[in-house]
């Protein structure tokens, strides 16, 4: 008994379809349904249909504001540090050192981010860097539990995710283009701006997107290095589910976050098109 082409295709798509349904659509549907419900009297979720939770979103304004300022800021800072590093690794370093240096970029990932963030508590706490600064006459500098500490923590934590896509883009760069430019008398800074930078844009965009999306959902680093005072949307959600047990409102906040992400991704794909990146380049991640 032969099966038709159509049936075969349906059959082959089934596993992927089930995967999407079970792991993507179902949880999203639950969150969406919860977001229209209410908090049950002792906490948790009670069925209902109300827009009350969405109307309450402005009460988390500060969390949205912190996330929407520190996430882009962290992404830009990570980019500014990662680009020269990736450039150095891809184009300048002696090939025999390359592997070692690349491994060194990954090494921090071998330890949990939790432990590495705790290490920063000691570095930024009163007996760490501030004590050192006091030696040079800069008294009473507070670093820990400030937005700066959180920014530092997120840049530190996510830097490798920015370095690698840019590195791959620069690594693939056709060096003959640079040689040709040099032969024709183009100064290095111009060939960087006209050749290297545009051709590495797909890597820059991929890295930025990767870091930005993760930062939008971040809650660990703000809670450790921000002392509960620098609050991200992620922290607001953790609180709503685990402390005040308002699952309905927590779901509404989650939906709002997903919507913000979708808008960002839409802008991202526009940018990608504009820089004329091929599908392969986008698929770096």
């Amino acid at each position: 008994m032969a099966i038709t082409r159509r049936q075969a295709r349906a059959l082959l798509l089934t596993p992927a379809g089930l995967w999407y349904a079970a792991l993507l659509l179902l949880p999203l549907a639950v969150v969406l349904i919860f977001s229209f419900g209410e908090r049950s009297p002792i906490g948790g979720y009670a069925p209902g249909f109300t827009l009350e939770q969405y109307a309450n979103l402005p009460s988390r304004f500060a969390a949205f504001r912190n996330t929407l300022t520190l996430a882009p800021l962290g992404t830009v800072a990570a980019l500014l540090i990662a680009y020269p590093l990736a450039y150095f690794l891809a184009l300048r370093v002696d090939p025999k050192w390359k592997t070692l240096l690349l491994v060194l970029v990954i090494v921090p990932f071998w330890t949990s981010i939790l432990i590495r963030s705790y290490a920063w508590i000691f570095l930024l706490g009163g007996k760490g860097i501030p004590a050192l600064l006091a030696q040079f006459g800069l008294e009473d500098i507070r670093l820990l539990n400030t937005p700066f500490a959180v920014l530092l923590g997120i840049v530190y934590g996510y830097l490798p995710l920015m370095v690698f896509p840019i590195y791959v883009a620069l690594e693939k760069l056709d060096k003959r283009l640079l040689e040709a430019a040099a032969d024709l008398g183009t100064p290095p800074w111009r060939s960087f701006l006209q050749i290297t930078l545009p051709l590495s844009m797909p890597g820059v965009l991929t890295g930025s997107m990767l870091v930005f999306i993760l930062l939008m959902g971040e809650f660990l680093i703000p809670s450790i290095l921000g002392g509960g005072k620098v609050f991200f949307i992620g922290n607001a959600m953790v609180d709503l589910f685990l402390q005040s047990r308002n699952w309905a409102f927590g779901s509404a906040v989650a939906v709002a976050l997903v919507v913000i992400m979708l808008i960002t991704v839409a802008i991202y794909s526009r940018l990608i098109k504009r820089f004329g990146a091929s599908r392969d380049d986008v698929g770096l991640m």
Binding site: P41, I42, G43, A62, I121, G126, D239, N246
Partner: protein
């Protein structure tokens, strides 16, 4: 207090190994001092097939999961429990009753024993999440020897749902070198936070105590859910927030390294810090505040029920319970245990404050934990 978490040096390890090989120390001593015992317990616990098969282990299983609070047990007691019954205790640590409730409410927590505070028990019973205890399986629980103040919340409608673990207070820990003396009022605590202690004060990441003490500042009840009282508390907290060092229930590290000078503090943490650093003191707010008692209870869906009963019974053994108290510094309501504790502990004003210091304190009420307005107030305070 010795620091058991410090790893053993290479030299000391070899010395201990030689002593063990020569037979001058027991295997248990060797495993204990080198940390290998703990390492083996952890590894063994994650590979049940490696556990010793004992006759007794058959009915109890080989593991029990305990959900409890930070710095609240003597780890050596869990080792003894494993030695005696072949059951390894897996400890999960939580920061608040709300967090525990959220985990149990979500279902499938996997816990066998947990440690709810007095005001939480009614909620667990109402939500049908715990069941009455079979006291015949906890012979070490002798109701007559417990101070009823700290045992009464475990009994609801004549049924015993939970048996007492420890009691304590929520007061103020202060670094007297920095604060220039004792801080024993919530007035000084909150006013000082905006003034002479700017940037050095910590409040709990827990609505019950943070809002409760802000209410006490105004002379309201710790347990108030009255909207106008709560509005006062919110105004105070929002006003103080920019001046706080942190909002966190993990205040020991910041207090110990001198970054924070003043914090809301539970009895045992106060005792632990005071023991290591005498300049850190602990006082009760003279306007009032919280007195509490913790209990052992078993969730309805506990996967290892028999082991849960065995663990509770073991920990309530007066000898074992006395060792617990010595390790964590929380007072015990069981007079059989107090008879075993050294005199200076029983006279310690941090552990057993004078009756008049306790008089203004209030036990938390069930509604204080579950009131949605308090929960939302705390969330607004944190996200402001």
């Amino acid at each position: 207090m010795t620091d058991d978490s410090k790893p053993i040096s290479r030299k000391a390890f070899i010395e201990e190994l030689r002593r063990y090989q020569k037979g001058s120390v027991t295997r248990r001593h060797f495993l204990g001092v080198t940390g290998l015992g703990t390492a083996m317990a952890v590894m063994g616990g994650s590979m049940p097939a490696l556990l010793p098969g004992r006759a007794r282990a058959a009915d109890l299983g080989n593991r029990v999961v305990l959900a409890t609070w930070p710095n609240y047990h003597d780890p050596a007691n869990f080792d003894d429990f494993a030695d005696k019954f072949g059951v390894y205790t897996q400890v999960n640590v939580f920061g608040s009753n709300e967090e525990m409730l959220a985990k149990i409410q979500a279902g499938g927590s996997g816990w066998d024993v947990f440690v709810p505070t007095n005001y939480a028990i009614q909620t667990y019973v109402d939500a049908d999440l715990i069941e009455p205890l079979d006291l015949s399986k906890i012979p070490n629980y002798d109701p007559a020897s417990f101070d009823p103040r700290f045992a009464v919340a475990g009994t609801i409608d004549g049924k015993v749902y939970a048996v007492p673990k420890n009691w304590g207070t929520t007061g103020i820990a202060f670094n007297s070198k920095k604060t220039g003396g004792v801080v024993d009022s919530w007035k000084t605590f909150f006013d000082g936070a905006r003034d002479q202690f700017d940037g050095r004060v910590m409040v709990h990441d827990y609505q019950l105590t943070t809002i409760g003490n802000a209410l006490v500042y105004f002379g309201h009840s710790f347990n108030s859910v009255d909207p106008s009282d709560l509005a006062d508390a919110e105004k105070l907290l929002l006003d103080v927030k920019p001046h706080l060092y942190a909002i966190s229930s993990d205040y020991q590290p910041a207090m110990r390294n001198g970054d924070a000078w003043l914090t809301m503090c539970w009895t045992g943490d106060g005792k632990q810090m005071h023991t290591d650093m005498p300049e850190i003191g602990f006082a009760l707010g003279k306007e009032g505040g919280e007195i509490w008692s913790d209990y052992y209870a078993i969730p309805k869906d506990a996967p290892h029920r028999e082991a849960a009963y065995a663990l509770i019974n073991f920990l309530l053994d007066p000898q074992v319970n006395a060792k617990e108290a010595l390790a964590h510094g929380y007072p015990v309501a069981d007079k059989r245990v107090n008879d075993l504790l050294p005199e200076e502990l029983l006279d310690d004003p941090i552990l057993y404050p004078a009756a008049e210091a306790l008089a203004p304190l209030e036990f938390g009420a069930a509604v204080t934990l579950t009131d949605p307005n308090r929960a939302e107030l705390m969330a607004r305070f944190k996200s402001a």
